[in-house]
């Protein structure tokens, strides 16, 4: 498993591995952070911070407890949420609207110029409304199953399968 080796090298302070992981995940993390803070400069700042800390704390990652992606995603979400709650953010900003990630995809000027992203936008539009929300809560916002079920008013027991169906839809779109 190549990724495992990469992560191990990273934990052994291999800069090349660090750069490779950065290239793999930075845009994704930036997307998640941006979706929470809604400001490009701040999102970049938070992303820079989390990668700096990831390097410094690389040993606290434990593969048996989850994916590397999930680890860094967790930290990114927490850091972004902390930023939004912090005082200097509140001073500089703006009451945050409760927009979803789909709204970002819909405003074309914030879309990056990759055809990839434009393709995704087209497909995400046709995702079911419930799917957009479930993905927003579970992946972008880091809600627990329970919080998601309360927010969407659907039974806790159905979150798992419903989310599976939504991710399946998304995957189908991405390979088409």
């Amino acid at each position: 498993m190549q990724l495992d080796t990469l992560v191990l090298n990273f934990q052994n302070k291999d800069e090349k591995a660090f750069e490779e992981l950065y290239n793999m995940y930075s845009e994704s993390m930036h997307g998640v952070i941006y979706n929470i803070v809604r400001d490009n400069d701040i999102a970049e700042e938070v992303m820079q911070d989390i990668f700096v800390k990831a390097w410094q704390k690389s040993n606290s990652y434990d593969a048996s407890k989850g994916r590397f992606f999930t680890w860094i995603l967790n930290i990114a979400r927490n850091a972004a949420i902390d930023k939004v709650r912090s005082k200097d953010f509140k001073n500089a900003k703006k009451n945050l609207n409760s927009d979803f990630f789909v709204d970002i995809l819909e405003t074309s000027e914030s879309l990056n110029d990759q055809t990839d992203a434009i393709g995704i936008k087209k497909y995400v539009d046709i995702l079911q409304e419930k799917c957009k929300k479930i993905i927003e809560f579970l992946y972008f916002k880091g809600y627990t199953q329970k919080e998601t079920s309360e927010e969407l008013d659907i039974p806790l027991g159905t979150i798992k399968t419903r989310n599976r169906n939504c991710i399946n839809e998304l995957r189908k779109m991405l390979v088409e």
Partner: protein, 267 residues
């Protein structure tokens, strides 16, 4: 476990989202290592989530990684020194240059000071989010431990100590059996790590005649920190035993590798 049902259950999607308990995480990890199909599925889910989240990003600046490296002091480059030739000036020029420099230094100093403070704050915030992740881990571990404790303290639970046998006299284990729920909790802390290519297999026994029934192998023995495993048991067991078997388990127990054994007291 039926692999297809496992994959279809949606557990892997929640695994990538980071919304499973510690125990579930470990279970998925073990399944991934055992079954390439599970790993492949996780990779595909992860790839889809990465693509989607990346699409939301208004593409971050290309220089950020340079900043990160600089911040961490990785492969620092030497700063260039440029020499200048000095033309002659009168005192007024010198004085105004000196004043400008002083002013500049002062400004620079206070901007720096301010930046440093802001940096400290944001460092503390990120530090905070790391601690939150750690706290969450600890909370989950605690909840899992409390669950185990609750389960083995129940009124209907009987405890059966398994003593070390033969060459393995120094090993031990304990079975907590909830007959009502057809469940046993096996505390296997007293067993050494299973060697490469071997697994512990748990047996339910009836005596007279001696008939062993496999309760399955403990595949995640080495990776499990608590060393407590819950196992289904619908048998009318009269004793429990643990043997070390080749990976995958055996049809009948290898008695030379019988580590621990304990008889259910009938009183």
């Amino acid at each position: 476990m039926d692999l297809k049902t496992y994959i279809e259950s949606g557990i892997l999607e929640l695994y990538v989202a980071g919304q499973l308990s510690d125990q579930e995480n470990r279970e998925v990890y073990d399944q991934m290592r055992k079954h390439p199909e599970v790993l492949q599925e996780v990779l595909e889910i992860e790839a889809a989530v990465i693509k989607l989240t990346a699409a939301v990003s208004p593409k971050p600046s290309a220089y950020i990684f340079e900043h990160i490296k600089k911040h961490l002091g990785l492969n620092e480059e030497e700063t260039k020194v440029v020499s200048i030739t000095r033309p002659k000036h009168n005192w007024l020029t010198y004085a105004s240059v000196a004043a400008a420099v002083l002013l500049g230094v002062g400004l620079f100093w206070s901007i720096n000071q301010n930046n440093a403070l802001e940096k400290q704050i944001s460092d503390a915030e990120v530090e905070n989010s790391y601690l939150e992740v750690q706290m969450e881990d600890t909370r989950k571990e605690l909840a899992a431990t409390e669950n185990i404790l609750k389960a083995i303290r129940g009124k209907d639970v009987i405890a059966i100590p398994l003593g070390g046998q033969g060459d393995f006299a120094s090993t031990y284990a304990k079975v907590y059996w909830n007959k009502k729920e057809n469940l046993i909790y096996l505390d296997a802390q007293g067993l050494p790590e299973a060697p490469e290519g071997k697994v512990y297999q748990v047996w339910s026994l009836t005596l007279n005649p001696l008939t062993p029934t496999s309760l399955g192998t403990i595949d995640d023995f080495n990776s499990d920190d608590t060393k407590i495993f819950n196992i289904k048991n619908t048998n009318e067991s009269q004793a429990f035993g643990i043997t070390l078997e080749p990976a995958g388990g055996s049809e009948i127990p290898t008695l030379e590798q019988l580590y621990t054994l304990g008889i259910v007291s009938t009183t």
